[in-house]
Structure formats: C-alpha cells, structure tokens
Amino acid sequence: MEDKQQMSVSVWRGGATGSFQSYSVKVEDNQTVLDVVAWIQQYADPTLSYRYACRVGMCGSCAMMVNGTPRWTCRTHVNKVLVDGKMEIAPLRNLPVIKDLATDMDPFFEKWVAAEGFHHPTQTRHDPIEPISPTSEDRVEANAGIECINCSVCYAACDTVAGNPDYLGPAALQRAWSVYNDSKDANKLAILDAVSGVGGCHNCHSQGSCTVHCPNELNPMAAIAGLKRETARNFFKRRK
C-alpha cells in the first residue's frame, strides 16, 4: 500500500552525464520543492549540490526542472507538482550542469551583455536628476520587464535556445527591450544592432513557453515582438 506520509523524489546526480537517484522524503504541510531538496541534502545525502539564496522568490537562484517543467523551487508547493506520490527534480535545461542540480549560469548572463541589456548613460552624476513620468508610454513599456529576477526559467523553457545555442534567449532580449524603452539610455542603436544579429530576436518562433512559465508573470514574448518591430522599422529607416 502506498505510504501517504512519504513521497518518492528522483533527483539528478552527476554532471552532463549521470542518473536519477531516488529518495524517500516525508510529506509535510506547506512544503516547497526547495524544502525537499534541502531536506535530502541535510538528512539523506550531504554530497547533493544545489543553489539557492533568498527562499522567498526574489533572488532567482533556485530554479530547477520539476517533472520536466522549469520552476522556481522556493515558491513551488510540493502538493502542486506531486504525481502519485512521486516527483522528479533535475538541473535547469539549456545550461551546462556543474554538478547535480547546480547549473553554470555564465552563458545566460553573458547573453544579457551580448544583447546590450545594460544602461548606456546620457548624463554624469553631477547633472540634476531628470524627471521621468511613470505614465509615459516608453516608461510603461520599460516597466513591464523590470521585475525579472534572472532565474533563467524562461531560458530553460525555450525550445529555440535548445535548437540554437547562439540565440540570446527571452530574458536577455526582454532586458534589451526594457533598456531600449528607457528614455535615459544613450545608445539605442547599439541595442538594435545587438538583438538583430545571428542569435537575435528574429530567431524567436513565438512559442510562448517563456511567458507561460515566467514565475513573475512577465511577458518576454511581447518584448521580443517589440524588438522585432523596432529592428524592422530601423532597417527600413536606414534604407531611406
């Protein structure tokens, strides 16, 4: 008879090659997937490697594949993902595995830089602060993406990233779109050049997995569509 007090958790052990190892973990009320991983590491196998920091959905460190779907584990309740008393936890997809559940996030962050997803200043610290209306059209568009916590859930959910390792991915492109709409940014052309290259926004097939799985309910697909429009508009402008 199935023991309702225990769940069977399959956890990826190893690097790029490895296998799933099964652990029996006590079912608790109000238990998150991260709680389960922490319990295994503390009480069953101290060699298990994983990454987390804040445990409250702010830092974006603890994302993993749970039953094949990328999720922020600190805000995912076990009772939401447990199927017949079983659960599978694996490292994030589309990123190199360092060990067990910890992935190398370098390619993800390098793409933010490659997409020019950083501020290009217009002024110095000695200039007065420029007032920006929070209701202006550009600011509303920029605000739509700024709650990104860099968790890489969208990156792991994206089949275009899986098929083309050069593709910048939803998070980096969304960041580029936010910076592009920032009226204080000085080099919008550099952003459009960066996102219209080989791995740029035009690779996106609008599958929408990024938007479906974003834990903060952001819409990278809309941001990428915005970049597609602006790069096309800029292309025809230059031809004039």
């Binding site: 094949g68 479906v212 697909m221 809309a222 429009r229 096309a232």
Partner: protein, 113 residues
Amino acid sequence: MIRGYRTHTLWLAFLLHRVSGVALALFLPAHFWVLSYALNKPESLDGFLNWADMGIVKLAEFGLVFLLAVHMFGGLRLMALEWLPWTSGQKTAAAGAVGLSTLLAGVFLLRAI
C-alpha cells in the same frame, strides 16, 4: 516528445503551423502534377477526378482544407504579432484560427458530399 513545459496553447499552435506547412509543401507538387494532366492527359485527369469523388477522398480533402486554412490564419496571427502593436489574447487568436479553419473545412465537406 511533447514535454510538460510544452503543453500550452501557443506551443501547440506553433506545432500545428509547422506540421500544416510541411504537409502543404508535400501536397503542392502532387497538386500541380495532377493539374498538368489537364494539358497533357485529359483522360487521366477524368480518371483522377472520378477517384476523387470517393467519400474517403472527400474526407481527406476536409483535412487538406483545414490545414490550408489553419496555416493561413495562423500565419496572419504571427504576422500581426510581429508587425502590429502588441495585443494580448494571443491564445484566443490561436484558438480562433483553429475554430475558423474547422468551420471552413466543415462547410467545404458539407458542400462536397
């Protein structure tokens, strides 16, 4: 394999768009080949048209009209997504494309039988 993270409306719309596109690409050469009979072998074309009157072929044509329509409406949705100002309700638009295509193909089938 359709994994958990893919089972949502827009990913399925993507899959349908690809499958319908490949199916139409395979169909079109055969379509033009049959049309060429009108110029070269009219008697063969008549034979083919008699064969195409069979119920099972009409049913296959229902599928063909559906694929054609869903590829067109799906393509229009994608072009609107990429060229017009962003509109929410993409899932509704994708579902609407499937609904409209089913309606069109159904009307075709009812007129054909």
